[in-house]
Symmetry: C4
Subunit: 203 residues, 4 copies
């Protein structure tokens, strides 16, 4: 089948997931403290919102580039894409978990689950990318030389590494984990990074 409705459905799921992140920011219940205190105290919720929003947004950009190479999709592509969307759909939970437990007992595990979900997502992305570029190369829009396809794959595989590092590091410091995830967003967002542009034409 063509990729139009596949893109539309993926866009829909990613758009809903990214917008549901706001449900992780709680309206503070009236307390003995002034509201300013209560709002400041929940800063992990804002930090987690920003980091997760940017991460999902960047995966959307990359997803767009990945499907843009495709002429049509078959059953195996649909299923692997579904698995990728399933990991993205988990992020509102992982984000809320991290925000809730940071600065409390259990924060290490919560941060590990958080980065672990990003790791799952990056792995699913990389798997789908490999499937498209190697196993389903005949479904691509234009023939890419094997060398170029390997370059793209290599870069996507490299994207998994920081999360694989950040996940166990949560047991050293959950703040370090959050910092790595934030730094990655910044890296991808910067103009010169190997973001969307780079994934189309090799420098």
């Amino acid at each position: 089948m063509g990729t139009g409705r596949l893109e539309a459905f993926s866009d829909g799921v990613i758009a809903v997931a990214i917008t549901l992140l706001v449900l992780g920011i709680a309206v503070p219940r009236p307390s003995a403290h002034p509201l300013a205190h209560d709002l400041l105290k929940q800063w992990p919720q804002y930090a987690a919102y920003v980091v997760s929003f940017m991460t999902i947004g960047i995966i959307w950009i990359n997803h767009h580039a990945m499907l843009g190479r495709l002429r049509e999709a078959d059953h195996s592509i649909l299923i692997l894409n579904l698995l990728l969307l399933m990991t993205i759909g988990l992020l509102p939970f992982a984000t809320a978990l991290m925000a809730e437990y940071l600065r409390h007992s259990g924060e290490s595990l919560a941060a590990a689950v958080y980065a672990g979900c990003f790791l799952l997502m990056a792995t699913a992305f990389s798997t789908l990318n490999r499937h498209l570029l190697i196993d389903r190369a005949h479904l691509l829009r234009s023939e890419l030389p094997l060398e170029e396809r390997r370059f793209i794959l290599h870069r996507a595989a490299v994207g998994v590494v920081p999360y694989a590092v950040a996940t166990p590091l949560a047991f050293v410091s959950p703040y370090l984990t959050l910092g790595i995830c934030a730094a990655l967003d910044l890296y991808y967002a910067l103009p010169r990074a190997t973001g969307y542009r780079g994934s189309v034409s090799r420098p």
Copy 2:
């Protein structure tokens, strides 16, 4: 009317429903137990998320194939499609119910409601499919031989059977019911299954 906006609306509803599933995974409240214990204890929520996500995803793939055969839609198709979407929209509730009650009193009924909602969905799908292929054959994109239409219908009807079996089996064991639903997902996800590909060209 053309099928473009019908597909867009259906995609929207299915994408929202599949993404709302995550609201069924609760952030554990701080308790006397370590977080790891609380997270592990709610494994039915993860299992239900995965099974429901894949089931809705597979129905989306099949829905795509079904509407892809259609040239234009009339009032009766819109209404039957709406009924199908209504059953899909129920699944976040059914999923949360099952996840909440598994391992507690009431688990049999909760699992029966869960599989029962899948049964409703599969029945609505099969009804719409029959309506398109038999009653509205003149609205199809290309003329399909009656024999081929019957083959497609037969397969869709067969898809109802496992849920019709899994629903009452919940009162024997809710785990069995969940297992059947999971096995069905696996069956449809496997490359060789009669999934999307099969519904376009007969083997």
Copy 3:
């Protein structure tokens, strides 16, 4: 501007609103009663879900037909469409309110708010329709004779009446109000009703 993105945005809002209805169906908290009792006791939630889902679905069908007549949109159309979407966006609240209070003190007011929100929606729809067909007739795709435009308008205006009746009747019986809303859905869903088909070609 063209109507493509206007349709896409409207579809998005309507699809999210219709799917959020499920949040009005609560997973019963564990109680002293068996789960079957608790699930049955909340039947107003299921009834309200079905009635609201079908009502929003039918307004979507009619919205589709309305915008389908339009060649391009101007500022006033965008704003009136936004007001219509604002009334549709309220329905998950009105539905949950009605379902929560039916069979309890306050049920009459809750049902009046419920039908009153449908009344608001039907009025906004009718207003936008009149604006398109009378004030912005030069933006229609094809010239419709004034007589035919009046026929369409008249029918849309008639659609407001049942809700204008059902709203105050809530203080006689909230069940009557719910029944009228359900009967309207049934009427529009039936094959021969003046639904989508009728709004394109006059019988």
Copy 4:
């Protein structure tokens, strides 16, 4: 890349955010007061819903006009658009916060956060607009004279001012802040305002 999927994704996020606003309207819990009393008491929730819905709706109209000028998007445009969507995604939280605290201790800060989020959104919008019209003028569909681009930019920059005023004024009166936000919506919604139409052809 083309702007089609960028528009689709933005529409999705904005449509979900605008529809999630309804979650800020609570179904009153049964209390000793009659339901009418409880429903009336939460009027700030309705006011905040209407003001936020119209504000997001108008930003959508303007976003549409802005992207409509664009022929294709590059990495920097995608990232700045993502930042804009991130501020829009915050609004369901800011709206619920304002509605919850109005008429209670903390209302000034809550209203300041509310208008402050609109300020953030207007700033992100203006930044993206400047980037498109000045830095990425070569990606526009048609060459606009510099003078006209400056006119559009100037008007977008002016749109930031009222929120910059309304935010600190919350500490004088949160009602004044809400009133300014509502007046702005009204201004943009009125037929003669410099809304969508004005942003295409200069008067």
